[in-house]
């Protein structure tokens, strides 16, 4: 990971976006902007929130670092450890399981040689199981970055993996 050597600072463009979000809230309540700013920070810095990134966000919002840790550690969509370029979020809730999510998951596990929560050695894929993605009519569902992939089969999943390998671009929420 090149995060350690990189300076933790938003680009001017991203910073403008951040200030626009902060500006939506009354003076003294900048903390309200925490969630959207964390999403931007995660997208910007290799799709995970290192303590340094969280401290930087705390500094931007004028709050204590621990207030950021508290929020970031609560939500599963924030990664607190480095992740692969593609985080494969497989829905493991009832309806998806009924139509083959478990088969999909075990296929991905075999294919990639990793368990949920793990990352492939090449840093390409992280497998993650998630709760209901609210697309129950189209299961099994997998979210990768901001995109839903629906009605998945092992074959379709293989195609997707190939496609991702070819693109080789980090998938983020925003």
């Amino acid at each position: 990971m090149d995060i350690d050597t990189r300076e933790i600072r938003f680009s001017a463009e991203r910073l403008a976006e951040v200030y626009e979000i902060i500006g939506r809230y009354p003076e003294g309540r900048q903390k309200s902007a925490l969630l959207p700013v964390l999403h931007i920070a995660q997208a910007e810095f290799d799709n995970w929130l290192s303590p340094e990134v969280m401290d930087y966000v705390a500094d931007l919002l004028g709050i204590q670092p621990i207030e950021v840790y508290e929020v970031a550690s609560f939500y599963t969509m924030f990664n607190l450890k480095p992740v692969g370029k593609y985080v494969l979020e497989v829905c493991r809730t009832g309806p998806c399981c009924l139509v083959g999510a478990e088969k999909l998951q075990s296929h991905l596990e075999t294919k990639l040689g990793i368990k949920p929560g793990e990352t492939t050695p090449d840093g390409m894929f992280t497998l993650k199981t998630v709760e209901c993605l609210a697309a129950c009519g189209f299961g099994p569902v997998m979210q990768v970055g901001a995109t839903y992939y629906e009605r998945l089969t092992p074959e379709k999943a293989d195609e997707l993996l190939e496609q991702f390998r070819k693109e080789n671009k980090r998938a983020t929420y925003c």
Binding site: R29, Q64, P65, I66, Y69, F74, Y75
Partner: protein, 902 residues
């Protein structure tokens, strides 16, 4: 009043409370975790579920969380209902799935709310057979131990530390079943009230680390009702002992003084009692053979008889001890062992409170103030507990307004907090430098003491034109004084706070003027003036001469024998003066508890009992007389100073104290002969008080090892000491029910082993103790009359070239004489340095850490400096009393030595 049916029986209860409070107040045992009387309800733990029925016809009912349901007239609930009982049993079983069941090695065991609730709910068989989640613990510094595996996730710690006490370095991290309560990394929990977590946490996650050094179960300790000696707030504490060692201080509820909480200086500053530096033996210079009481009394008496004697009293000694000394040496020869500036400040304070028109506030009155003005006081360091109260006060106004508007009861803590966000009732803080209370303030100003008083007088003038108008205010000052006056006038319960902190009489006077002006315009105002030590107020009320006069008396040969009561004179006057004083005195007799510089110079050293080994009465800054009781009888010749002085008087043939033998005699004599102390005989029951012919037991009935604990010294059990001074017994024999509130040695009720048993000692939960909260206020303002305002014209603070106006600064951890003997407290002391405005330091070419050389009162000093951008120019502060800082009777102008530029 509303009628509440509980399991079909009608009860009369107060409206506006929640069902849990109502049930507990009625004496029912209903389990709970997340609710706390001081912190309200959040309905998080689900443990207090009861069945609620629509009406008499309703047989099904529904489960409700009793802490979240307001009391309604004619409401019908059931605690016994099978479904409610089952639900509560299920909840505790869930909460316990990850709990390690390590009670045997847990410090909380035996005083654990979780244990009590588990037993109460009937969860006694464990069905969970999977792995438990585990955590890594943190090093939280010298005061608290962290053991997260025990956590049941009630969130009380966060609600106390963050929401109630304003801490910033503890939070809840994670979600689901892996929530972690801790800091972002290892390190000291910084908030000054962190120790309360040990009581707030219902289980053993946060426990008292100082107790761990010499751990003993609650049931194995001897306890006594005591008073904190750390400052003049008069917080009530429980002091606990085993094997002749003081082992723990916990908070003793007093709704008028400290409520449920005390500060960390009070909780952890007790270790001096066990210290190596304690004076435990009799010492007579040149006569090492004198070791027993009688020969000492003979020797000391001979010396007292042959010379002309003077006595130096102490603001940290009890009323009884000061009184005994004054009797022994005679009123004319009784001097106050306090710095002269402090003498003047405290006497002024007393005069203002006695002759003025405004009362001092109790704790609930501070918490309900709706506009607050602080003049010159760095409260976290001079009256720590008050800051916690102010924190509640600033939240209360907006909370009440919202509560009324949105129809949400005030005890629904989360909802109210969420809705008011950072809205605060007005609090104005005008201090010489940045202080902790700034984070509560709507406006903070940093001004020199002179200017603080000018602003204070100007506010008073804006409220009442009879107060002299202050000229030459800056535009900004004029604007703020007008604003503050208007806000105070709009308030219903304004509170003015000042005190000794800024070292300025003018500041105190200006605070009095503001309060009196508000009173004149019909406001229900309170005036709180801090004083330095636990009995500063009592000593001032007793009367006596300045220390300066004592030094003069010896210098001029009017006296040659000095009796010093519980005092280190090197903390009261400059070194050269004290040196000369002690050298010129033919005999110096010192009664004290801990060795210090004065003890080095004394000819006769008499070991005096600390608060843990003595009984006595103290008068707090509020003017409240309260009694503290001995916890244990120490080995050796250590005894109460008043008892020593009485015996000394006898040995001298001085008959003035002959008729006084036990504490009650002293208390009655003081009340009889000093009208200002009338009433102190009623603050606690006399020594012959009995309940069913029984004394009140200091030891819990489960106290173990009594017959064996000294077997390594002697096999046969020693006769337990008897206590002729109080209605308490030193053993487990005696009354174990609820005694009068002033003599509660520990809180315990059947099924309630933890500190939560306080519920059973209160008339209603969260309210006063049965019998009323202990203590009696001795100072009430005179009849309504027109006050004579102090305000007079004064020039703005002058900045003098090559000079600096140096004022004292205090530190909750570090500047108090005894608490620094606790290693934890010592480790948190600030640096011994002068703090000045950065611009001033720049102009001298000095930077942080450089040495500043200066002259004060003819003496030369050299101290490191620290710079601060927010300090006013021309002024500096020095932490007086801190180790490594020489005593100077500040405030005063210091002359800087020219800085040599390299």
């Amino acid at each position: 009043m509303a009628t509440l049916f509980i399991d079909n029986a009608p009860y009369q209860v107060k409206e506006g409370k929640n069902l849990l409070e109502a049930c507990l107040s009625l004496g029912f045992d209903l389990p709970y975790f997340c609710w706390h009387p001081a912190m309200g309800s959040v309905g998080a733990c689900r443990q207090c579920a009861v069945k609620s029925f629509r009406d008499e016809e309703d047989t099904r009912g529904k489960l409700v969380m009793s802490c979240m349901e307001p009391v309604r007239d004619q409401a019908r609930i059931s605690i016994q209902d099978a479904e409610a009982v089952g639900f509560r049993a299920g909840i505790i079983e869930w909460l316990m799935t990850n709990h390690p069941h390590d009670c045997a090695v847990c410090d909380e065991g035996g005083s654990c709310h979780l244990q009590d609730m588990t037993v109460m709910t009937g969860h006694n068989y464990r069905r969970f057979r999977f792995n438990k989640r585990t955590y890594r613990n943190q090093d939280l510094g010298p005061f608290l131990n962290h053991e997260m595996n025990r956590c049941i996730h009630c969130y009380r710690c966060i609600r106390f530390y963050k929401d109630y006490a304003g801490g910033k370095d503890l939070d809840a991290m994670g979600a689901h079943n892996h929530v972690y309560f801790g800091r972002s990394e290892d390190g000291v929990l910084e908030n000054e009230f962190s120790g309360n977590l040990a009581e707030v946490c219902p289980t053993g996650v946060f426990t008292d680390k100082s107790l761990k050094q010499h751990y003993t179960r609650k049931w194995d300790m001897t306890h006594a009702p005591s008073l904190c000696q750390g400052c003049a707030m008069g917080c009530n504490i429980i002091a606990s002992e085993r094997y002749g060692e003081l082992r723990q201080i916990s908070s003793r509820f007093n709704g008028e003084v400290n409520g449920y909480f005390i500060c960390d200086r009070g909780r952890f500053g007790y270790e001096f009692v066990n210290s190596e530096d304690r004076i435990r033996e009799i010492g007579v210079k040149g006569k090492p053979e004198i070791k027993d009481r009688d020969s000492l009394l003979r020797t000391a008496a001979a010396r007292i008889r042959e010379g002309s004697v003077l006595g130096i009293g102490s603001p940290r000694a009890s009323l009884e001890s000061n009184f005994a000394l004054r009797k022994l040496v005679g009123e004319d020869n009784f001097y106050h062992g306090v710095a002269d500036t402090e003498f003047d400040l405290v006497n002024l304070t007393l005069r203002i409170l006695k002759e003025g028109t405004v009362r001092t506030p109790t704790l609930p009155e501070i918490e309900s103030a709706d506009a607050i003005l602080i003049l010159g006081e760095d409260l976290i360091n001079t009256a720590p507990r008050m800051v916690l109260a102010l924190r509640q006060a600033v939240r209360r106004g907006p909370g009440e307004a919202l509560s009324a508007r949105m129809n949400v009861p005030l005890w629904q803590d989360a909802a109210i907090r969420q809705a008011i966000q950072q809205d605060k009732a007005p609090l104005f803080s005008i201090t010489p430098y940045p202080v902790r209370q700034d984070e509560l303030a709507t406006k903070s100003l940093y001004e020199s003491p002179d200017d603080i008083s000018r602003i204070g007088f100007a506010i008073a003038h804006a409220i009442d034109p009879d107060v002299t108008e202050i000229k030459r205010l800056s535009d900004e000052e004029r604007m703020w004084t007008a604003h503050m006056a208007a806000v105070l006038l709009r308030a219903e319960r304004p509170l003015i706070i000042s005190g000794y902190g800024a070292g300025s009489e003018a500041v105190i006077k200006s605070a009095a003027d503001v309060a009196w002006a508000l009173k004149k315009s019909g406001k229900d105002v309170r005036l709180s003036l801090t004083v330095p030590e636990c009995n500063s107020m009592g000593l001032a009320m007793m009367g006596g001469h300045r220390l300066e006069s004592a030094l003069d008396a010896v210098a001029h040969g009017h006296a040659d024998t000095v009796i010093i009561l519980e005092n280190d004179l090197y903390r009261r006057a400059e070194k050269t003066l004290v040196d000369e004083f002690l050298q010129k005195s033919r005999h110096v007799i010192l009664l004290d508890q801990v060795y210090h510089q004065t003890a080095e110079e004394a000819d006769v050293i008499i070991p005096a009992g600390t608060f843990a080994e003595a009984d006595g009465t103290l008068i707090s800054g509020e003017g409240r007389a309260q009694r503290f009781y001995q916890v244990f009888v120490p080995d050796g010749p250590v005894q109460e100073s008043w008892r020593w002085l009485q015996q000394l008087a006898e040995a001298c043939g001085n008959r003035t104290l002959s008729h006084l033998r036990i504490l009650d005699d002293f208390v009655l004599e003081i009340a009889k002969t000093c009208p200002q102390f009338e009433g102190i005989e009623h603050i606690a029951p006399p020594s012959d008080f009995r309940i069913g012919a029984q004394k009140i037991a200091r030891q819990p009935h489960r106290y173990s090892g009594r017959t064996a604990k000294e077997a390594h010294i002697q096999v046969s059990e020693r006769k337990p000491p008897s206590d002729e001074d109080s209605p308490l017994s030193f053993t487990m024999e005696g009354y174990h029910g609820i005694p009068p509130s002033a003599v509660v040695p520990f809180f315990w009720a059947p099924g309630w082993n933890s500190i939560q048993s306080i519920n059973k000692y209160q008339i209603e939960v969260g309210g006063p103790l049965h019998d009323g909260d202990p203590g009696r206020r001795l100072i009430e303002p005179g009849d309504a009359h027109t006050p004579v305002f102090f305000a007079e014209q004064a020039a703005p603070f002058p900045i003098r070239p090559d000079c600096l106006y140096l004022i004292p600064q205090y530190a909750i951890f570090g500047t108090e004489e005894f608490s620094v003997h606790s290693p934890g407290i010592a480790s948190r002391s600030p640096a011994a340095a002068i703090t000045v405005a950065r611009a001033d330091a720049d102009s001298w070419g000095l930077r942080d850490g450089d040495l500043l050389e200066f002259q004060f009162n003819g003496q030369e000093y050299k101290l490191a400096i620290q710079t601060n951008q927010q300090y006013p120019r021309g002024m500096g502060t020095l932490p007086i009393g801190l180790k490594g800082v020489p005593f100077m009777d500040l405030p005063g102008w210091i002359r800087l030595k020219p800085v040599e530029r390299s």
